[in-house]
């Protein structure tokens, strides 16, 4: 007897359809699984056998061959368990073949017959061509995000068999999650003083400009960066689905509704490897931190402590918004359009901000600055010094402007950028600058002075103009860029001169 069940396996952040073919024949009793399964997948044999027994389904001792087609594609994970178990039942004649026609099955089996969740439900369901899918009950909301399938959630194998035989009801789908309480994101009002840093956060959020914070320990770099996602608006439905697919594929916990609506925040430790940052692996291509942060914020604290090759691996995603990971067996493309926020000390002793306060030797300082390659440093449109705030202003200073009004300005500025045909001003092509970022006479004179004095490089010029455009958008100023916007843009880029670069 032969049975064929539709299922899917995960490859990068995409699902690939898999057809689970089960053949039962007379002969020496045995169970063979073929079709490039990985270890977790091969062990499905033992889980399925135990789960079938736990569900009270005794099968005669026959020769069982399971083929995972297409057999040239590597299968990974335990998500095929459910399809294998049902395939065996159909092949033995315990279930009618037409009960599973048009049905895709996804889920891992426990030895007690329970059906467990697997990572990547969204891309897996998306890959299934069938009109209906059966998924673990607590993944039902996630699976329903794709929206093309009738989603059935099951908790045990026995329940599924009963439903397929028509002996029992399908479980009620879980009620759609109500409007979620917005997850508490830290508020900008906690930041007292720090006018320049606040402005830099606002500009980074509005214009999609990458931000580098340089300051001594305790200056509040992490605190500032943590408040950046709150300034970004909710993800558009398409972006939300993209982010959810990536998070789902990486097995991250998803919000109750299954859909990631808020821009993600990722903060990898500086010990991170290049593969963990950009993605990859040997057989299972896991998305890296840059992809998990897509449409959100990637915060890299202690930027100078990251390995040099890890930092330089960021250059492709920063440029292209995607990252292509190539291995001997496979090559995948992940989305990676994130806002990069770096934080670092000005020098090894950490105190090298104000003139006359550093204890490091010149050699130590230049070695430290050289840990960031010029091309990477150049990607940061905003580079500011964060000074340790005055203790008096911490205790007595007025509260800062809260997140909500700033976020409103950011979203207004983003819609101005959208009207120019880009997602954010940071993506403005160089040839369009003369049109959308025209300069007033005063601003031209100021930029000329900066160029002549060596405080601004030719390459930095375009970036300063984009930042100035964002500043003008935030202030709702139209027409040519004025002195103030250009001056502030210079100020926001030229900060840490100790890194040995012109703006």
């Amino acid at each position: 007897m032969l049975a064929s069940i539709a299922s899917a396996t995960l490859f990068g952040v995409d699902g690939r359809p898999v057809s689970v073919e089960v053949h039962v024949s007379a002969g020496l009793p045995g169970f063979t699984l073929v079709g490039l399964p990985d270890t977790a997948c091969r062990e499905s044999r033992d889980r399925v056998r135990a789960a079938l027994q736990s569900a009270g389904l005794q099968l005669p001792q026959r020769r069982v061959t399971v083929n995972l087609a297409p057999s040239g594609v590597r299968k990974n994970g335990a998500g095929l368990d459910l399809a294998v178990a049902i395939g065996i039942l159909v092949a033995h004649g315990h279930l009618p073949a037409d009960a599973v026609a048009g049905l895709g099955l996804l889920g891992e089996l426990g030895l007690d017959g329970s059906v467990r969740r697997v990572p990547g439900m969204v891309p897996l369901v998306d890959a299934l061509p069938t009109p209906a899918v059966v998924v673990p009950f607590d993944c039902a909301a996630e699976a329903a995000l794709v929206g093309r399938h009738q989603v059935r959630g099951v908790t045990t194998l026995a329940e599924l068999v009963a439903a397929l035989r028509g002996e029992g009801p399908w479980a009620e789908p879980p009620p759609p999650a109500g409007p979620e309480a917005a997850p508490a994101e830290p508020d900008l009002a906690d930041v007292r003083g720090q006018a320049v840093a606040r402005l830099a956060l606002e500009v980074a959020a509005a214009g999609g400009h990458h931000l580098l914070l340089v300051g001594p320990p305790g200056a509040g770099k992490t605190m500032l960066a943590r408040r950046l996602p709150g300034l970004l608006g909710d993800l558009s439905p398409a972006d939300a689905l993209e982010v959810t697919r990536v998070h789902s594929a990486a097995g991250l916990a998803l919000p109750p509704s299954g859909l990631v609506r808020r821009p993600p925040w990722r903060a990898p430790h500086h010990g991170a490897s290049a593969a963990s940052l950009v993605g990859g692996g040997t057989s299972f291509m896991r998305p890296g931190e840059v992809s998990l942060a897509t449409r959100g914020v990637l915060f890299m604290d202690e930027l100078a402590e990251f390995a040099r090759n890890v930092l330089d691996a960021l250059r492709q995603p920063l440029e292209d918004g995607v990252v292509q990971v190539c291995r001997a067996r496979a090559s995948v493309v992940y989305p990676a359009r994130f806002l990069l926020v770096g934080a670092m000390n000005p020098c090894p002793c950490g105190e090298g901000g104000p003139p006359g306060s550093c204890r490091c030797s010149d050699a130590a300082r230049s070695r430290y600055a050289a840990r960031l390659s010029g091309p990477l440093l150049d990607r940061f449109d905003l580079r500011i010094d964060v000074a340790r705030p005055d203790p008096a202003s911490l205790l007595a200073g007025p509260l800062g402007e809260p997140t909500a009004p700033v976020a409103a300005r950011v979203s207004a500025a983003r819609s101005l950028a959208a009207a120019r045909g880009v997602r954010s001003n940071a993506e403005l092509p160089p040839w369009s600058l003369d049109e959308v970022a025209r300069l007033s006479a005063g601003a031209t004179a100021m930029l000329e002075r900066a160029l002549r004095s060596g405080g601004l490089s030719a390459r930095g010029l375009a970036r300063v103009r984009r930042v100035a455009r964002t500043l003008a958008d935030l202030g709702e100023r139209e027409g040519p860029l004025g002195e103030e916007d250009v001056c502030l843009a210079l100020q926001l880029r030229a900060g840490p001169q100790r890194l040995g670069v012109a703006a």
């Binding site: 003139p355 010094d385 200073g397 002195e483």
Partner: protein, 396 residues
């Protein structure tokens, strides 16, 4: 010592092959060769030259007999058989005439202790250098001498003070002695040169052909041509860490008064201070803001009782010079005429200040403050380093 005197040891290697009329190499050629051996510090060199004349000393080193003299073996940093063997191995490789000609080509004169022209303040010093290599004339040191020293990591205010002191001291006829380092040292030299009066002197910790830091190469040349640059190390000696404190003792010994402009709590200029106190030289200190790390060391010295320097007159009084030469009382620094600009300059004050602090002090929007700062920096009222602004002492 007698050998040095006998051969009239102060001499510049002139043209020709460096030999004098009777075809013999002058004594300083041997002193230069001895000074270039590894492990040869002032103590050992003095001991060697005390035991033999330069030529005989070179002979004993070549023969590996340097440790046999009881005076040399028992010197502060004695010489044992192993070191003597090492010296012998090195000395056989040294081309004494060639090295002497190198000094001639570089315009470096060699003056051994005991020879005529050796600076008197160094003669009876307990750690006196055995030899001085110098470019320019040691006559610069005949005037009253004030060492102006301080940190390399200084503030704009410190730089301005050092330059002003250098200028005013030179104008009052004082030889400004310093170390040609980055920061305060270099500024003091610049000021002294700007006065165009008494010539400055510099004591460096490298061979005179190894300019360190490189950025000071032009200043180095100017000091050498106006006054003199001296070192106790022969040509080719690189900047090694231990040579800097050793150099500082010469600065302290040369100076009649040591003035520290800015120093961190643990800084190299405090070595100069210790060396000066050991030699009973008065140490004076420029007070700094209590919050400035660059003034932590100097303020500690003040608390320990060093007299403060408010302007050049405080130093001139200690030197016993006529204070009328300089002007008592400083004119209030100029302020821009535009009211907002004046308020910004006032708000920056005399400490490194960030825009954040200025926004809070002035109550003005960030954009306006930024534009004003840019203009003031361009016009020279303010000095910018990174995100910090400092007030320029002499605008323009």
């Amino acid at each position: 010592m007698s050998g040095v005197e006998r051969s009239g040891a102060r001499r510049s290697p002139g043209d020709g092959d460096g030999r004098d009329e009777d075809g013999e190499l002058p004594a300083p050629a041997f002193v230069a060769a001895l000074a270039g051996l590894s492990g040869m510090g002032p103590a050992r060199l003095s001991a060697l030259l005390g035991a033999w004349g330069p030529e005989e000393a070179w002979g004993s080193v070549l023969a590996g007999r340097a440790h046999l003299d009881p005076g040399v073996a028992a010197a502060a940093r004695g010489v044992d058989a192993a070191l003597a063997r090492r010296w012998r191995a090195e000395a056989t490789q040294v081309d004494v005439i060639g090295r002497w000609r190198e000094h001639a080509r570089a315009g470096v004169a060699v003056t051994a202790r005991g020879a005529g022209g050796f600076p008197p303040p160094l003669l009876d010093d307990h750690e006196a250098p055995a030899v001085l290599f110098h470019q320019g004339s040691l006559d610069a040191l005949r005037r009253p001498r004030v060492a102006v020293v301080g940190t390399r990591r200084c503030t704009a205010a410190g730089r301005a003070t050092a330059r002003e002191l250098g200028r005013d001291l030179a104008a009052a006829g004082v030889c400004v002695v310093s170390g040609l380092a980055a920061g305060i040292d270099g500024e003091a030299h610049l000021g002294a040169l700007a006065a165009g009066s008494a010539a400055p002197a510099a004591v460096v910790a490298t061979g005179l052909d190894v300019v360190y830091p490189r950025s000071n190469v032009e200043l180095w040349r100017r000091v050498a041509s106006a006054g003199c640059v001296l070192s106790e190390y022969p040509l080719g000696t690189g900047p090694e860490r231990w040579r800097f404190p050793a150099r500082n003792r010469i600065i302290a010994a040369l100076a009649d008064v040591v003035v520290v402009v800015e120093s961190h709590a643990r800084g190299g200029s405090l070595h100069t201070v210790d060396a000066a106190l050991e030699r009973d030289r008065p140490v004076m200190v420029v007070p700094g803001p209590v919050r400035s790390p660059a003034s932590a060391g100097t303020n500690d010295l003040l608390a320990a009782g060093s007299p403060p320097v408010r302007d050049v007159d405080d130093v001139l009084v200690v030197l016993g010079l006529d204070v009328a030469a300089a002007t008592r009382g400083r004119a209030a620094p100029p302020v821009p005429s535009d009211p907002l600009a004046a308020a910004v300059v006032e708000a920056v004050g005399w400490q490194p200040t960030t825009i954040d602090e200025l926004v809070a002090r002035l109550g003005q929007p960030l954009g306006r403050v930024a534009v004003e700062l840019e203009r003031l920096e361009h016009e020279g009222w303010l000095v910018r380093s990174g995100s910090w602004f400092e007030r320029a002492v002499a605008p323009g």
